[in-house]
């Protein structure tokens, strides 16, 4: 029973890894409660977007994470 968190770009530095498995399910708040408060603050930044299983998340408060889900934290992009 786990969900995979993915930290893109500079969030990788804040999280100390590109990916992390957490054995918590439920709301986004429940997931965040399992993380270091400093990291939570970074992940809660208003420019950070979320994708659940490859689909952009529009309503964070309605998120329900289940076993096997992948939740990605996406900072502003810088491509090309």
């Amino acid at each position: 029973m786990a969900i995979r968190l993915v930290f893109l770009g500079r969030l990788e530095d804040a999280a100390g890894a590109v990916e992390r498995l957490v054995t918590v399910t439920g709301s986004l708040a429940a997931i965040m409660a399992a993380l270091d408060p400093d990291l939570v603050e970074v992940l809660s930044g208003e420019r950070i977007k979320l994708a659940l299983n490859g689909t952009m998340v529009s309503d964070r408060s309605g998120l329900v994470l289940e076993d096997g889900d992948e939740l990605a934290f996406l900072p502003p992009v810088s491509g090309g």
């Binding site: 490859g54 502003p76 992009v77 810088s78």
Partner: protein, 157 residues
């Protein structure tokens, strides 16, 4: 998160590459396919040589990046009458002088080819799922998009 290649029909060719590519050879192949087009506008973005940057890394997120590039190409094909559109983007580690991105648009009229190529570049720069960091003096630093990139994007809104 390694890159994958995807080719749709002859009209649309969108690729995410995790190894070096030769933009001029890609343009040659693209031109050969689109001999009926009056013109081909293209843009090659490359890692600037001569700066203090030693290495550049482009990170992507597989569930979003290539699908987003495909959607961008589809959008460009709806906006302009094109005979072909090629988008090639690197991921992984790049050295100074290495090509990062190639966009080529073939059209009967050059205005359409230029517009589509610029449109694709503007969206790749500030709306596509890539994260870039540079190593200079042994220190890695993540790059944020430039204000100019957002201004460029608004032209198409």
């Amino acid at each position: 998160m390694t890159g994958t290649a995807a080719e749709a029909d002859m009209t649309r060719d969108v690729r995410l590459l995790d190894c070096h590519f030769d933009p001029a050879a890609q343009i040659a192949a693209f031109s050969a396919v689109h001999r009926a087009a009056g013109g081909i506008a293209s843009f090659i973005g490359q890692v600037r040589a001569g700066d203090e940057v030693e290495v550049l890394e482009l990170q992507h997120y597989a569930p979003l990046t290539l699908p987003g590039m495909e959607a961008l190409a589809a959008d460009a094909l709806l906006r302009w009458p094109l005979e072909g559109l090629l988008i090639v983007h690197r991921t992984g580690l790049l050295a100074p002088g290495d090509p990062i991105v190639l966009v080529a648009a073939a059209a009967r009229h050059r205005r359409d080819a230029f517009a589509a190529a610029e449109f694709a570049m503007d969206h790749l720069k500030s709306e596509s799922w890539f994260w870039k960091r540079e190593k200079a003096g042994g220190i890695w630093r993540w790059i944020e998009p430039r204000t100019q990139d957002f201004a460029d994007l608004r032209r198409w809104a």
